[in-house]
């Protein structure tokens, strides 16, 4: 190898290209001009920086200013550099912290419930007793095709205080569900989110179920394990990875709760405030013209989401190694 012929030495890097018969080292052996991959990535990277990173930096910078209004409101408000003011204000803003708490409660209750529904559905469709698998898979998955806002609109009709078709169905049992009551409205929102996403998560879990080797299940059956026992001891542990992944995505999804409550707000009779979720709170700060305060709230929310997902990944990583 080191005995390269003089001509090869002279031309330096040429020989590798001239000797393609060398066993390929995967993708990287072709020694393409080093510029091409960079050019390929350039459009995406440029826009990514402009549309993801720049706005975050801009918002973070913006959040360091405070809008000051003169006492009489006769002069235009001015922005003063006061790095912590907005953050201190957000932390002490009862409606903003309440919105964070509301979304956290939503995540803690709705995510496990939805995933339980998804898991049970996947197990049912996967079970030997099921008929019409394709049909049931499709019906649970169809809501995923409906945009979140449209789903919320349709459900707002379902919940209507005057003409709810659901309450009409319940009439014979003399039950009326007050979907927009203060204590219930959060769970009415949770139901819309569950309706939209349970089928999506079911498909992911179902795909994981399908990859369990048939022999394993057959062996368990030979040993006389019941269907429930197989589901509990073999199938559920086998889809653990899928469950972790869907949990992470769902928790992150809860943090961005906005569309459903916003659509329900005008018909909610006041039970959904304009600061129902952190995003709604930040948006009402924008509507009030206080951009720096909105920026501070966005930054806080982004940091919170980042922390929660980081913690979750750390925890599940450890679980995987164990």
């Amino acid at each position: 190898m080191t005995q390269a012929s003089p001509s090869v030495r002279a031309t330096g890097r040429r020989p590798a290209a001239a000797a393609p018969s060398r066993p390929a080292r995967g993708a990287l052996s072709g020694r393409p001009r080093p510029l091409s991959p960079l050019l390929f990535c350039a459009p995406f990277v440029a826009l990514f920086v402009a549309m993801y990173i720049a706005p975050i930096l801009y918002a973070a910078y913006n959040s360091l200013f405070t809008v000051r209004r003169s006492g009489l409101g006769l002069t235009a408000p001015t922005e003063v550099f006061a790095p912590l003011d907005n953050y201190v204000r957000a932390v002490h803003d009862g409606s903003f912290t309440a919105s964070l708490g509301r979304v956290a409660l939503f995540g803690v209750v709705q995510v496990p419930l939805m995933l339980a529904v998804a898991l049970v559905l996947a197990l049912l469709i996967d079970s030997k007793s099921a008929r019409g698998r394709g049909f049931f898979r499709l019906t649970s998955f169809i809501p995923y095709a409906i945009p979140g806002v449209s789903a919320a609109l349709v459900w707002s009709f379902m919940y209507s205080s005057t003409s709810s078709p659901l309450n009409r169905l319940l009439e014979p049992f003399s039950v009326t569900i007050p979907f927009f009551d203060d204590d219930i409205v959060l769970w009415s929102v949770a139901n819309i989110v569950t309706w939209s996403w349970a089928g999506y998560n079911m498909i992911i879990i179902y795909a994981a179920l399908q990859s369990i080797p048939a022999e394993v299940l057959e062996a368990a059956r030979m040993d006389g394990a019941s269907a429930l026992r197989i589901a509990w001891s073999i199938k559920i542990p086998a889809v653990r990875g899928a469950l972790v992944l869907t949990t992470v995505f769902s928790i992150i999804g809860s943090a961005q709760l906005f569309n459903e409550p916003t659509v329900l707000q005008p018909v909610s009779g006041g039970s959904i405030s304009s600061a129902f979720t952190p995003l709604m709170s930040a948006q009402s700060a924008v509507a009030a013209g206080n951009y720096p305060y909105a920026a501070a709230q966005s930054v806080l929310l982004a940091v919170a989401v980042g922390l929660v997902s980081l913690i979750f990944f750390k925890l599940t990583r450890r679980g995987d190694q164990a």
Binding site: S36, P43, I146, P147, W195, Y200, I204
Partner: protein, 299 residues
């Protein structure tokens, strides 16, 4: 390179059916399973069924009766009323939606394909960093960037400009991730090598070999991005104040919030009309959806 998301499940071929003698399942078990599945089907379909039934009822009857079964027929009249409300702005909204989603997803798919292909098939400085960034961006929901985007756009006077919706929509980290997965699976290195031996340039190899082999995957990426843009309500709602520029989701929500100004039945009919094309596309292109979900969702 640390990959947060584990290796993808192999290409989504039709679910491998477990073949074997059908075990004797107890009738009680069968009934329970079917009853539960039937209940779930009712839950998932009821709102849509109600929407369909209500939209076909004569105008003004939308909220009367149980909504479980058809009662008179007024669909065509309803659509005519929908079309004439506010000088036919509904169809303008539909057109806007299709344009934002179509153009955004098309350009986005090209960008995603280029980037994902480069990440899968080349080694270059910054490759690991870029992929980590893409993964991080997949995890952070786009909606969280919307307010900062709004602040930035109002700083550069890009409010009420279609570009304010299009520019952010073109970027799809999930699309890049899918493109990388698919490029790894479906474009063999040997074929690229052969192309290079024939003296083809890298871009030409991508265009003639890479794109062709990734084509089904690109359809999946396009679909996901199309729906993602259609679903993004907050961005257009914030950056587009002029209702002639708004997509249909923003328009319908405004109608719904206006209560008296626009009759609520029109919101029902508009909802049905606006989701119908999506539903048809969804049902017709099911296999592409599942391809994206199993590749993206991983085990």
């Amino acid at each position: 390179m640390t990959t947060v998301i584990p290796a993808p499940v192999p290409a989504p071929s039709p679910a491998p059916k477990r073949i074997g003698p059908r075990r004797e399942t107890r009738p009680a078990g069968r009934v329970t399973v079917l009853a539960l599945l039937g209940l779930s089907a009712f839950y998932f379909l009821f709102p849509l069924w109600w929407l369909l039934v209500s939209a076909t009822k004569p105008f003004g009857e939308q909220f009367s009766g149980s909504g479980l079964w058809f009662d008179g027929f007024g669909l065509f009249d309803n659509v005519a009323r929908l079309s004439s409300q506010d000088d036919g702005i509904f169809w303008r909204w539909m057109l806007n939606s299709v344009l934002y989603c179509g153009v955004g997803a098309l350009i986005g798919t090209v960008f995603s394909a280029l980037t994902g292909y480069a990440l899968a098939k080349y080694d270059f400085p910054g490759r690991g960093t870029l992929f980590s960034l893409v993964l991080a961006a997949v995890l952070v929901p786009k909606v969280l960037f919307t307010l900062p985007l709004y602040l930035m756009f109002s700083g550069v006077h890009l409010i009420d400009n279609p570009l304010a919706v299009l520019l952010p929509s073109v970027i799809s980290p999930f699309g890049v991730y899918l493109a990388r997965v698919f490029a790894e699976q479906s474009v063999p290195d040997e074929v690229l090598e052969a192309g290079r031996l024939d003296g083809a340039g890298e871009f030409r190899i991508f265009r003639t070999i890479g794109v062709r082999m990734m084509l089904p995957a690109l359809v999946t990426i396009f679909l996901f991005q199309f729906v993602e843009i259609w679903n993004n309500y907050l961005l257009p709602a914030m950056v587009l104040g002029d209702d002639r520029l708004q997509p249909v989701t923003v328009g319908l929500v405004a109608w719904n919030a206006s209560h008296v100004a626009v009759p609520p039945p029109l919101v029902v009919i508009g909802s049905l009309v606006s989701i119908t094309p999506l539903l048809i596309a969804f049902l017709a292109l099911q296999r592409f959806w599942r391809a994206g979900m199993t590749a993206g969702a991983v085990k």
